[in-house]
């Protein structure tokens, strides 16, 4: 029972705290790749777009209770999440990486999976889910803020922080004397999808169609050019797969 349906707007939930995908400009207006992506989706559907900034924890409940129509927030398609909501087909992929403390002597993900090792993760993030399922020997330090996770590693309170490659790369560059980074892929790529209320196949079909169309028109290449030209070059230098090179 929501009154949003009346004005036909497409309400998109995202956590605007993940630059450059979902973030805010200096005036506090939503900006970023996901925002532009959502706007294009709105155009395709013929509906005006309304962005709702919702904390990460609240995204799925908001979808469940119909407060938003769709979630486009760099959210990985996960089995656990599929029990509560549906996902569109993947529109991007990402790889996890690890920020490690210089002194902890960690060279690979297996070095982390030892008893006595401490891993910082952001609550509810893909890294959190991955560590919970695969790094059972280590102790998890689950935090609400990414900045706290980085601080833990910088101060040596945690041995590693598992997050996406881009964030890890940036924070490693900022703290070169205290941290190192592991970019060796240790899992299959993670695919980001748009979250849709369970059973809303009508919307899901249309979003899937739109993603195909957006790719075929080179929409993501344009967005990369606009927001991430610098990063793309770095990724190429490091030999990483790019977010939008799905095959």
């Amino acid at each position: 029972g929501c009154n949003k349906k009346e004005d036909n707007a497409l309400t998109v939930g995202m956590e605007l705290a993940y630059p450059p995908f979902e973030t805010k400009d200096a005036q506090g207006n939503p900006t970023g790749i996901s925002v532009d992506f959502a706007k294009s989706l709105g155009e395709y559907l013929g509906r005006p777009v309304k962005i709702e900034n919702i904390a990460w924890d609240g995204l799925i409940p908001a979808l469940q209770t119909g407060q938003v129509d769709i979630v486009i927030s760099s959210m990985t398609i996960k089995e656990e999440r599929l029990e509560k909501i549906d996902f569109s087909k993947p529109y991007a992929k990402a790889m996890l990486a690890v920020l490690v403390n210089k002194n902890s002597n960690i060279k690979s993900i297996n070095d982390l999976n030892q008893s006595g090792k401490k891993i910082a993760v952001k609550l509810n993030s893909t890294g959190h889910i991955y560590a919970q399922n695969n790094l059972k020997n280590a102790e998890l330090i689950v935090l609400a803020d990414e900045s706290a996770c980085v601080t833990e590693v910088v101060q040596g309170k945690a041995d590693g922080f598992i997050y996406d490659q881009l964030t890890i790369y940036r924070n490693n560059q900022n703290n070169l004397d205290t941290t190192g980074a592991i970019f060796i892929p240790f899992q299959d790529a993670e695919y980001w999808g748009a979250g849709i209320q369970k059973g809303n196949t009508e919307l899901k079909t249309k979003v899937d169609e739109f993603i195909d169309k957006f790719y075929s028109e080179g929409g993501f290449d344009k967005l990369t050019e606009k927001y991430l030209s610098q990063e793309k070059k770095t990724f190429e230098d490091l030999g990483f797969d790019w977010f939008f090179s799905l095959d």
């Binding site: 705290a17 973030t23 805010k24 200096a26 609240g58 706290a148």
Partner: protein, 261 residues
């Protein structure tokens, strides 16, 4: 000897302005020195200029916090007053309804209340604005605490004052307005002031339903620039800039309303 007397309270418990100033500086200085000493040990240095980029967002968040707490303050005063009266009512279902509300809200964490109210009750009854939902949740939460403060204050009003009101011929509304209310204010103001400060601070919990107030703004910023210490120190300063004047004002009002030693 003369010098030492700056540090000793006079017999009559009064303090000179000089004493006050010197000792406030010493006390604050002690905290600041300790803090910076700790920072030195960690070789940390702060660069608050990283926050300059976000000045507009910080300002907006600050304003939202002020709006949120001001409105909630008024609404929670209303709720607190009504439920304090309700819990004293002769009509027992009403009385127990109010008591259950107070017990339940005070007994459970606000985070749970936020989730259940916003996503279940709020959605079911069509409260879609996050701001309005936030104000309601915060007011319902703080109302329970204010209710207890008011109840305590009412209990402490002397029965003879009410009898005197009867004797001079006041009706019940006049008694409330001319006798109970002014006496109540004087008694509960200190506790109420503490609760007002709590409202300002607790408003930050609404960030979990993405009311973008001050704390949420800082969290978003810290997720962008990863300058956790600068962000949170600045956050503390901003909150102090709200709570400190509040406590000064209430102390002044308190002095005006005070009538018994």
């Amino acid at each position: 000897m003369k010098l030492l007397s700056i540090f000793i309270r006079q017999e009559n418990n009064k303090e000179t302005n000089l004493q006050r100033a010197v000792n406030i500086i010493i006390a604050c200085g002690a905290f600041i020195v300790f803090f910076f000493w700790s920072m030195k040990r960690l070789n940390l240095s702060f660069d608050f200029s990283v926050l300059l980029d976000f000045k507009y967002r910080l300002f907006t968040g600050f304003i939202t916090t002020i709006e949120l707490s001001t409105i909630s303050l008024l609404v929670s005063l209303l709720i607190g007053f009504l439920s304090a009266m309700g819990s004293k009512s002769k009509i027992l279902p009403l009385s127990y309804f109010c008591k259950t509300y107070i017990q339940f809200i005070r007994g459970t964490p606000m985070i749970m209340q936020v989730y259940l109210f916003f996503y279940i009750i709020g959605t079911a009854w069509g409260i879609s604005s996050r701001f309005i939902a936030g104000v309601l949740i915060l007011s319902i939460f703080e109302g329970a605490y204010i209710s207890e403060i008011i109840r305590g204050g009412l209990d402490s009003i002397d029965a003879t004052q009410l009898e005197a009101a009867k004797a001079v011929g006041l009706d019940s509304k006049q008694t409330m307005r001319l006798v109970i209310f002014p006496q109540l204010i004087a008694r509960i103001l200190p506790a109420l002031a503490g609760q007002f400060a709590s409202i300002i601070k607790d408003s930050s919990l609404l960030s979990i339903i993405s009311v973008i107030e001050l704390t949420q703004t800082i969290r978003e910023i810290s997720a962008t620039n990863f300058a956790i210490f600068e962000c949170y120190l600045f956050l503390g300063l901003l909150y102090l800039s709200l709570t400190f004047p509040l406590s000064m004002v209430t102390r002044a009002v308190e002095r005006r309303f005070k009538y018994d030693n």
